[in-house]
């Protein structure tokens, strides 16, 4: 398939202006004749549904949680980037663009990233106007802090709860549209398939999680904003309910899936403590501003941290990367933590941890200032570990956090199925092979508030849409295939629980498609995933029925999809014979252990197409061109 990203010609600074001018418009009277479906109510979906409602479209918004306010964007802690240059420290749209392309290890699309940097400034304005209580200086102006991968202070934040406050802003805007009647909200509703008619996305099949009832919803366009697929690893910082089902079913209906192997491992999470563990808790990256990361110089040094003298500590990030120090990007920080633990210098009972030490910052700034900056994070750490981080250094270890891959979209955020748009973490477009801190919130809101309202209008105005009814044969055929899928899961006469399959899949993925990968391990993992999938469909046991709240059944459907997606991730990782960003292939590294890209052969987005059950997926390539930021070996030294 020839992939056309529809990037406007001409200088990148004017690309978005040009694209907007070239777009066709839907006049106000016609907007109310269109119905749009938004799946997901996080920063991307919530802001999209609210804004499209404000414009006058009829919007149906779906989420699986009991309320749109619970979407996992709410858990983002650290902040949101914007090129405001309020700090007068040399920031600009171009610099944010540059940092993001470089941070993504030259695997993102330049034009998308430039637009993201442009929109960043409007996002802050919009959120302030909504009443988001960002941190302020005494004089009343907005405060900023620095974040990993950047040398300027451009991160806006609301204590350690920035995601929560931005999401509540979008949620409140959404509820305002619910009040006006422009948006109809469908909570506790999970999308289980996409309806494609005449090659265009025309609706979805939804399961009501309380009654189990399946229903058909028809629209003129479908917008997916369903987040990432980090839960394929079982243990991740994602919410327990986060899943890939919506994008995976869309993939199986013809949307391409790009760069599935690009996953981000976050360097600062609370280490695993036992095999009952259900998820991993993130400690915001902002802690690296004031915390210093170290391990003992000696292998197997079991002394408590306060008894290890300064001279016997290895502040390995400061030593290896003197100019960025503890603020190197996430992929670099994570890999280095793994390396020192692999050497046997890890701390804590399991040896899988490194220290994040605030004693120097507390001495320099006082405990009060540190409490002000990170109080709620310190409290959370203490609640979970029963250790006081004001006195004892935190122990942290990397964990799966974010997926840069996702459904392939063009510059208009449209997938390869016309009328199917994909926003936020669910798409692949802006972060390349590694996302910088405080950029996920920015992308979700940029897509939802400032991009989709234009591009979906352009689609509607330039597309002839036949009338489709919910009872049409096409829609009913999809409905009955979903019905059969649900019944099939319940009918498997097996013994094993859904969670046991999920844990086993997660372990395969973490061991062989995690922080570092190699060809032999990936091939082996593909074999084991296939065997596990075969066992799943033979030996699964789902208790309960399909006509009431059945959380085991919900999980079974999601894990069935993860078992297929996991294989595609391994295949993509195997196919990409280079290291870039979060994708570290052990065979491809520089003499000092940094990721070694191969721009000659792999400067493309790998977009995989579904070819039917049991058939190998088809690889399509979108070549990436860099006219502004020239690919170089990333250096944070």
């Amino acid at each position: 398939m020839k992939l056309d990203a529809r990037i406007p010609s001409g200088p990148i600074e004017q690309a978005w202006d040009k694209a907007r001018f070239d777009m066709k418009l839907v006049n106000p009277a016609n907007k109310r004749r269109h119905t749009l479906i938004v799946v997901g109510s996080g920063l991307a979906g919530g802001s999209a549904a609210a804004t499209l409602g404000e414009l006058g479209y009829n919007v149906k918004c779906f989420c699986f949680q009991d309320s749109p306010r619970r979407a996992h964007s709410i858990a983002a802690q650290g902040g949101i980037n914007a090129a405001k240059n309020y700090q007068n420290d040399g920031d600009s749209i171009y610099r944010l663009f540059y940092d993001t392309v470089k941070g993504g290890d030259f695997r993102a699309r330049e034009a998308n990233v430039y637009r993201l940097a442009q929109n960043s400034v409007n996002i802050i304005d919009q959120c302030v106007a909504q009443g988001v209580p960002f941190a302020r200086e005494y004089g009343g102006s907005l405060e900023n802090r620095s974040f990993g991968g950047a040398q300027v202070s451009r991160t806006f934040y609301a204590r350690g709860q920035t995601g929560q406050q931005l999401l509540l802003g979008a949620y409140q805007a959404l509820e305002r549209q619910v009040d006006t009647g422009q948006v109809t909200m469908f909570p506790r509703s999970e999308m289980l398939d996409l309806i494609v008619i005449d090659g265009k996305a025309r609706g979805i099949i939804v399961r009501n999680l309380i009654t189990g009832k399946l229903s058909v919803h028809i629209a003129d366009a479908v917008i997916l904003a369903t987040g990432g697929y980090g839960n394929v690893y079982y243990l991740s910082t994602n919410a327990k309910g986060s899943n890939a089902t919506a994008i995976w079913r869309a993939y199986k209906r013809g949307a391409l899936f790009a760069n599935p192997c690009f996953t981000q491992i976050h360097p600062t999470c609370i280490p695993v403590s036992g095999d009952y563990q259900s998820k991993l808790t993130l400690m915001s990256e902002s802690l690296r501003n004031d915390g210093r990361i170290w391990v003992p110089k000696q292998k197997g040094d079991k002394r408590p941290p306060d008894q290890i003298p300064e001279a016997e500590r290895d502040y390995y990030l400061e030593r290896r990367y003197p100019s960025f120090g503890n603020l190197v990007p996430r992929d670099v920080a994570s890999r280095n933590a793994k390396a020192v633990c692999d050497e046997g210098r890890g701390v804590g009972e399991t040896g899988l941890g490194v220290y994040l030490d605030f004693s120097e910052a507390i001495q320099r700034l006082g405990e009060e200032t540190i409490r002000e900056r990170y109080g709620n994070l310190f409290d959370m750490y203490q609640r979970i570990t029963d250790e006081n981080p004001y006195k004892v250094p935190m122990r942290i270890y990397p964990a799966i956090h974010y997926t840069m891959g996702g459904l392939w979209v063009d510059y208009q955020l449209q997938s390869t199925i016309p009328g199917l748009f994909v926003l936020g973490e669910a798409n692949f477009s802006d972060h390349g092979a590694n996302r910088l801190g405080a950029s996920a919130l920015m992308q979700g809101l940029s897509d939802g508030y400032f991009i989709i309202p234009y591009t979906v209008g352009n689609y509607l105005a330039s597309t002839k849409l036949e009338k489709v009814s919910e009872s049409s044969a096409d829609a009913q055929a999809v409905l009955s295939s979903v019905q059969q899928g649900v019944e099939k899961l319940l009918a498997i006469p097996g013994k094993r629980t859904v969670d046991s399959f999920h844990r086993e899949l997660g372990k395969i993925m973490w061991d062989d498609c995690g922080m570092s990968r190699n060809a032999a391990g990936l091939k082996d993992a593909i074999g084991r995933i296939r065997a596990l999938r075969e066992e799943f469909w033979r030996n699964l046991n789902v208790p309960g029925s399909s006509d009431d709240l059945n959380q085991s059944l919900e999980k079974a459907g999601r894990v069935a999809d993860f078992l297929e997606l996991g294989e595609l991730m391994c295949l993509d990782a195997l196919e990409r014979n280079e290291s870039c960003g979060g994708h570290f292939r052990e065979e491809y590294q520089t003499p000092d252990g940094e990721a070694q890209r191969d721009d000659e052969h792999y400067s493309y987005a790998a977009a995989w197409g579904y070819t039917g059950p049991g058939n190998p997926p088809e690889l399509n390539k979108e070549p990436l061109e860099f006219h502004y930021v020239h690919p170089s070996q990333r250096s944070y030294k």
Binding site: S47, A50, Q65, D66, S67, P68, R70, A71, H72, A75, K84, Y86, N122, I124, Q126, C127, V128, A129, Q130, G131, P133, F134, R136, Y138, G140, L142, A158, R159, Q161, G163, Q164, Q165, E175, R176, M185, I210, A239, K240, G241, G274, Q277, S278, T281, L282, R383, I384, D386, P453, T497, V498, D499, S500, N541, P543, G544, D548, L549, N550, Q551, S552
Partner: protein, 266 residues
């Protein structure tokens, strides 16, 4: 450690519920309350029984999905902690924990430990926002907000909408939840134009949903995982009183509840 979990089991709103006791061996003190339920559910599923339904999502204390009563206390004994972050080390070996769903007229029962909290969404829908459509905003720094004001607004905005305040209140009042949003937006300069209307409409909706009235008992703030201060209720009452006075039509001809007055309706 060993524990007994005595859990309210009820298949649906129309079926009869009862407490069922589940003895648990090998509870690790490091696991969270929800991970303890995971372990129980895994063993139930292995025996072919239906697992206990409970709500949860982020498991880091911020999404507000989780919550139930533990031996009569919403979210259990640890202050400022949701059940997803409540570790088992806070309980004694051999203890019996009684788990029940939130009980409130305004939160219809769903299953086991799950209730329907959509009433909260409808309260926000009735006015818990600032009406500014995308694209209308001035520069972020054009609206100065003092640090103290901003901090106080943030204290109120930290509410996660879990419903513990309602479950803990002997009156089943949602005043802490509603007051938190009224305070958050009413403190900020951006929230001033709609301050009266917001307070009046949200309070009216709160009554409409069937929540009880506040009688200043303070159980709500005591169990609140985000420690929302009681002062937000004082602010709510003040804004409501001011709003109701200023928004009244010249003739107040009724002794009907305020929720029936014209301006309180949509």
């Amino acid at each position: 450690m060993k524990l007994t979990l005595t859990i309210w089991r009820q298949k649906g709103p129309d079926s009869k519920g009862k407490f069922v006791s589940y003895p648990m061996d090998n509870v690790n003190p490091e696991m969270s309350m929800l991970e303890c339920l995971d372990v129980l559910n895994e063993s139930l599923a292995e025996r072919g029984e239906e697992p206990v339904a409970f709500e949860h999502d982020c498991r880091e204390g911020i999404c507000g999905s989780c919550g139930f009563m533990i031996s009569g206390v919403a979210h259990g004994p640890q202050p400022a902690t949701t059940v997803c972050q409540l570790t088992m080390r806070h309980f004694k070996d051999g203890e019996e924990l009684v788990l029940e769903p939130w009980r409130s007229r305004a939160f219809p029962f769903v299953k086991d430990l799950v209730v329907d909290r959509r009433a909260f969404d409808r309260i926000i829908e009735s006015g818990g926002y600032i009406s500014v459509s995308t694209g209308n905003a001035p520069d972020g720094n054009a609206i100065p907000v003092g640090k103290e004001e901003s901090d106080r607004a943030m204290d109120a905005a930290a509410c996660i909408g879990c419903g513990a305040c309602v479950a803990a209140c002997p009156n089943g009042s949602a005043a802490l939840f509603t007051g938190a949003k009224i305070a958050h937006l009413g403190i900020l300069p951006q929230g001033q134009p709609e301050r009266d209307r917001r307070a009046v409409r949200m309070v009216a909706q709160m009554h409409e949903e069937g929540f009880g009235s506040c009688t200043n008992i303070g159980e709500c703030t005591g169990v609140c995982p985000k420690e929302i201060p009681l002062e937000v209720i004082a602010r709510m009452n003040r804004d409501y009183l001011g709003g109701a006075w200023r928004e009244r039509k010249n003739v107040v001809t009724t002794i009907a509840p305020v929720s029936d007055w014209d301006f309180a309706k949509k």
